[in-house]
Amino acid sequence: MARGIGGIAAIFLEEHAVLEAARKTKSEGFTKFDAISPYPIHGMEEACDIKRSWIPYVTFVTGTIGLVSGLLLTWWTSAVSWPINVGGKPFFSLPAFIPIIFELTILFAALSSVGALFYACGLPKIDPPVIDPDLTSHKFAIFVPENDTGYDVAKLERMFKDLGAVEVKKVAEY
């Protein structure tokens, strides 16, 4: 969701109410709406039609890069750049290099996955607009941006009120 888009937000007090509202909003044909909650809600991905996160692919690829980097680093420094005979062991002594390779695999995979989260969620954001400060504590919301197909303030307001929203408000930008 790009920054600066206005829209309409409905506030709910119950987890099942917001889940129900998300399902209803989806069945009404909206695609760009989002649900805001203080904690991850079980079943919300299906309700909002969110695809499975692609971060694991990043983890796998960068983990593999870490593994190959570790292998290349240990091999090139110990067997190519300046080979030193340590206790008669082979220059390329793979079993002894495994701890290094393993640690670099984990390090690359973990840090890149966090980077991927930052990219996916657009973090860090400086002073993002807040619909309601209680949305990180005990309230839930559905936000429908004004550029979504079939956006109609009056119709949406009625729908959310029927679904049990305690408050429906226009949001200048989110």
């Binding site: 919300m44 750049s81 300046w82 290094i100 640690e103 969620c121 209680d134």
Partner: protein
């Protein structure tokens, strides 16, 4: 069907949870906290002085000598690294096993991990003797050849393992904190707190799309941390077991060290949690006696694993037929005919680690706060002595009697050991005041566990 106890007691609403957990961050500190903090901070200042003296005068200030070249710093390094492991076990491995009780203690246990690794990390860096050259530990292109580090050395594996562990633990901890920082920001009444926690929260909004990625990342980091934590103490044990010294050169070391690390770490979690429950009484609804009991069961189990490892080492020493190996172990226990100089430390270790935790067979002991506090202190002492036994008794009498000697324990050894608690406790006390000590976003989904109305699982 066996009924499950409620994870969180007191019929909390979501708002109550937020209020309870944010309270220590938002109000002025209590007298108790200030008292503890002044004590810990004074100890930290003393520690800085002690490390300054060690830095200025060199390692000779400590009791390390020939043949006992590894002393307090290495012992205390392994001690603190081990403490850290319980935090990762709780936050990552118990998460993968879907143990929902972990939610209440995961945040604080992870904080303990981060601070314990920070405390531990100083020791090997200072133990190099010339810590201002410690950047030589990393393989970077240099003008000395380039001369590279020796990747065949367990000490270098340790550099990679501990630095990776420290980095990933901190990142994992911070990612868990991001939604909670956003909560504090949104509640903040004053401008400075809003700015500081707003910056820390990175602008987290909590949309369903964000949560979807977030949960996936959390699972991935847990999956990466689980093998990582096992690898770290395995590699720490390689520091000893790859050497050819009797008493060190055994294949049992990696699992033995990992079990010992989890054992000591859970003891430290119990020590800290009993104190947190006294300092912040509202947390008693989240960290219940049930939570403490589960952890005490883990302490007893891992304590017996460690006891099994002690016994197994003796058996293998006898079965190997190696006279040096046999001597090393008989000497540890102080059997007549050996020097037995450090038998007292061996028996302190056995008493604290194997005998005292047996108290947890009794349910009243597992559920009694003063009892578990005392046992956890004994386990902490015992696990420090375990590393003392492994390091010092193995080194002091090795192959040639003409090469034997004793560790020259000095005032500075004790000062380094006790001072390190100053560093750890100062960080931990600051954490309790600056960061929500229980994960707000993670605890809300487990609110219904064990409640009759909604069933739970």
């Amino acid at each position: 069907m066996i009924k499950r106890n409620q994870l969180i007691i007191g019929n909390k609403s979501f708002k109550d949870i937020t209020d309870d957990i944010c309270a220590p961050v938002e109000r002025f500190p209590s007298k108790g906290w200030v008292g503890l903090f002044l004590g810990a901070k004074t100890l930290l200042i003393f520690y800085i002085f002690v490390l300054g003296m060690v830095l200025a005068n060199g390692m000779g200030l400590l009791g390390v000598n020939h043949p006992v070249a590894w002393g307090t710093m290495i012992i205390t390094f392994v001690f603190w690294i081990g403490i850290g492991h319980a935090g990762t076990l709780i936050s990552a491995i118990l998460f993968l096993f879907r143990q929902k009780w972990r939610t209440s203690v995961a945040r604080t246990a992870e904080a303990m991990t981060v601070f314990a690794v920070m405390t531990a990390g100083l020791f090997p860096l200072l133990h190099t003797g010339r810590p201002w050259l410690d950047f030589w530990l990393f393989p970077y292109p240099n003008q000395r050849g380039p001369l590279w580090v020796n990747f065949r050395s367990p000490l270098l594996w340790d550099v990679f393992a501990v630095s990776t562990y420290a980095t990933v633990s901190m990142v994992f901890w911070y990612i868990g904190l991001v939604p909670d920082f956003a909560t504090i920001k949104d509640r903040a009444k004053n401008k400075v707190r809003r700015m500081v926690y707003g910056a820390l929260s990175l602008g987290w909004k909590g949309t369903a799309r964000n949560w979807s990625h977030y949960e996936m990342l959390y699972l991935l980091l847990a999956g990466l941390s689980a093998p990582l934590v096992l690898s770290v103490h395995t590699i720490v044990s390689f520091d000893f077991s790859v050497a050819g010294l009797p008493g060190w050169h055994t294949t049992i070391f990696p699992p033995y060290f990992v079990a010992g690390a989890i054992f000591s770490g859970f003891a430290m979690v119990i020590t800290l949690m009993t104190l947190v429950r006294i300092g912040f009484p509202q947390f008693k609804d989240y960290i219940t006696i049930d939570h403490m009991e589960v952890m005490n069961k883990i302490i007893m189990t891992t304590g017996m694993m460690v006891g099994y490892a002690y016994a197994s080492e003796f058996f293998v020493a006898w079965y190997s037929g190696n006279p040096y190996e046999r001597y090393a172990f008989l000497n540890r226990a102080g059997v007549p005919g050996t020097s037995g100089d450090y038998a007292w430390s061996y028996w302190i270790m056995v008493t604290c680690n194997v005998i005292i935790p047996q108290l947890f067979w009794f349910k009243w002991a597992r559920r009694n706060i003063p009892t578990m506090f005392i046992v956890s202190i004994f386990v902490n002492i015992g696990m420090w002595f375990e590393r003392f036994v492994i390091t010092v008794t193995s080194l002091h009498n090795d192959f040639l009697p003409s090469n034997w000697g004793n560790y020259a324990w000095s005032f500075w050894d004790g000062a380094v050991l006790f001072g390190s608690f100053g560093m750890f406790l100062t960080l931990f006390l600051l954490y309790l005041r600056l960061v929500p000590a229980i994960s707000i976003a993670e605890i809300k989904p487990v609110l219904d566990v064990g409640k009759d109305k909604k069933g739970g699982h």
